[in-house]
Symmetry: D2
Subunit: 264 residues, 4 copies
């Protein structure tokens, strides 16, 4: 009860240290460590046992804010070995499946683990993410990212070429595909996935989308949809409101389909 | 164990009955009920105990597919008394907070309950959504929507004018505001929310965004961001790939901010 | 001199009769004709010799405004036999070429003549548009559209299959291609076009773009660009400013390339 | 006749020298001058009397192409003292008016002259652009830009504060406003503009749009529209087709309105 309402920063907690838009860092609150920026240094010992929302000062007198990292912050600040799925895309895709606490989910490939950590968070406490990746070094990096955010118990990594070997599980609630050749995975995914449930995949190029959809149709998936999610920032300032003038204009095309089963 | 992998449609389950893009219905699998469409009728008794993914035929011989509804389907097919937040916006906003299983969340107003059901799903099994709404009739409709999707135990409704009375809770993990005058709620939200945690709000008009941000600044919120999420469908057909020619071009501007606390 | 500043509506002038956003008509000011709308009728005799900008009243007392049609109005209100290029796309494409008064331009196909009239207007008084179309009935309709807006002397129609027969002209300043299979026209266009000058083409589908670009590369065109131009309306109202909620989300992909010549 | 079809680069012609996407220059073909790039130098004497479309080689053996500059190239490569209107916006706005060869047009402010040169080109040979600007140094730079592209005879510059002094002309066919406070110009524009004709204005911020529209309504302008034109590049490459990943996301909101006159 008391624990539930506790809002103190604990040793090893992840904290978003925010000075301004250009100076925001995801830091682990480890006593004895220091962080430095061009607006001054701060001693992480000083924030442990402070509440989230605490306002501190760097040694140069600049305010910094100790904020709770959002799920998107955890993704975007993960140590990256690969490009990652963006929160705008993942938020959309997650709701395009039926997953929630307790779900059993497959993702392929693991990459930096940014997707893995979000899926793990939302299938916790009893669900599991089976994360497949061909490169052992990617898994090692992703494992550290997952451990840092505290969802290691909800993830099981496998280093294998799924296109060749397939998956070790069946009756899976949703499959998330983030590889350059999703079409090579689709037949294996069709075996592992529960009937009527969701496969999602995303790719930057139109040709990848077409080949993936052909593979989905060949494996009797139905209700296929392709979307793009475009994020646009609005700047709200004293001198006026307007959209940001430059930014990201494309990340990926997002595919969703549902598995049909033959019955007798 | 067996139960976990069970994929049979049970009496009263929600099933997405899909004939084609123009004929897709969220139906409760109640024995004895019939559904009808211009492509033929079907008896819902026939789908109970069939697996999800089952392909049936209407009495006119048209195939229909028994699919698992996605979280977005549950939202979009909720019985509406009001406009609802769109999955593209909610997926983004949810990841802009830190909520997950076990979180204690406030939403205001309840509206049709489309947001309520998604928040309830993702804070389950142990978390709770405190949903505030001024209109008792909206709460009654939302309650039915929530019960239908099975998350009633994770929602507590309150019928009150929050701008006047404030919230009954403190130490809340995230606050979702969906009312025409968010700025009137912000001072009360600043009391209920945990330090460092997230308030999100969305409004269709620029002026609403400006007034809300002024209120957020007056209440010492920091790290405010405003985004628009634009969804664009790609049609992938034999005759060629292209974006859909007409569609939704605006829903809402999305605001996110984090609460700062004064310390002594 | 007096003539230059004359702003009176003359017999047979095209006038945009504007009652409100939903009731706006391009009418020819012909004495004796009447127009009717659900907000009342008006006698076109009454507007002849009135100045543009004149405010009249229907027989039901509703104000109507006699406005100068813009070039975009002339396009959008042309009698259509086909889909037309949109002003947002044409405005962009026209500036992507070097055409202006005096230019000799080819367009293919004529379609409804919406593009033809704009090109004719901007190459007048001494330039010419050579407009090619396979269907005689399209040319007949386009000819009427062009005559109505008064640029018949700047257009020469030819009814022929250009993919087979090629063009009758050479040393053309710019070529505008609006046919379903632009790639079939490209080799003929490469003959007719001046060195270093511009070919533009537009197509709704990605596959059309790809094949056209392959044809352009095979014919030694360089500096190829593909763009999409997306128009978004902002509603500025007393209750607030926001983008329109539904609208057109795709028309065409726009290609521009420039012809290279081999020299010895 | 011969002259009409002549496509040779003449002394002082503007030529777009194109090596690749990152190396493209608008150069005046002046004998004796050299241009240099990291891919080699070229002697401009070598391109005079060559035809447009000519392929040359730098002293390092890299191909360069001598292309005809498009109208958009002339704008984008003008020597800038200010931000300029983008071709995507200007192309749209120009068609939202009725201007063409012979029109008398006002623009305010002159800025770098990018807009001026395009208006001058499209009202030539007999029309004129009255260009107003408060800063004499801006006019000097713009004058050079206009002279370089050859439309000096179609432009008349005036250095004055229009908000105070108004315009020297009446019965103008269209007015283009590109200043930070368009609302201060609107009452003067209402005097100078022909009845029923078009005023266009563009501003980056929502507040500017609102104030301008209030001024337009106060001066009895009607049929006001506000649009945004968003340009999106598609990359068509061997490895696949996709939108460009980063780019310009906002330039300006575009306003168009038409003048009403009181009649007696």
């Amino acid at each position: 009860m008391t624990k539930e309402f506790d809002n103190l920063i604990k040793e090893k907690d992840l904290v978003l240290i925010y000075l301004d838009e250009k100076r925001q860092f995801l830091a682990q609150a480890v006593s004895g460590l220091r962080m430095s920026s061009d607006l001054g240094d701060l001693d992480l010992s000083d924030i442990v046992k402070k509440p989230y929302g605490f306002v501190g000062k760097t040694h140069l007198g600049k305010d910094f804010y100790c904020l709770k990292p959002s799920t998107a912050d955890l993704m975007m600040k993960a140590r990256r070995t690969t490009t990652i799925v963006y929160p705008k895309d993942l938020g959309y895709l997650m709701l395009e499946t039926a997953i929630g606490p307790g779900s059993r989910v497959i993702e392929i490939g693991t990459g930096s683990g940014a997707l893995t950590m979000v899926l793990a968070k939302f299938v916790a406490p009893d669900g599991i993410v089976y994360s497949y990746e061909r490169r052992e070094d990617f898994i090692e990096n992703a494992r550290k990212n997952i451990e840092r955010v505290g969802y290691a118990q909800n993830v099981e990594f496998t280093c294998v070429d799924v296109a060749l070997k397939g998956f070790n599980q069946t009756d899976i609630d949703a499959i998330f595909i983030d590889v350059p050749e999703p079409w090579a995975i689709v037949p294996k995914a069709a075996v592992a996935l529960k009937g009527g449930h969701h496969l999602v995949s995303w790719s930057p190029n139109v040709e990848q989308v077409k080949r993936t959809i052909e593979a989905l149709e060949a494996c009797s998936f139905k209700r296929t949809k392709v979307k793009e999610i475009i994020e646009r920032e609005m700047l709200v300032r004293l001198q006026g409101v307007r959209p940001r003038e430059r930014g990201i204009t494309h990340t990926a095309y997002l595919i969703r389909a549902q598995k049909i089963i033959a019955t007798t």
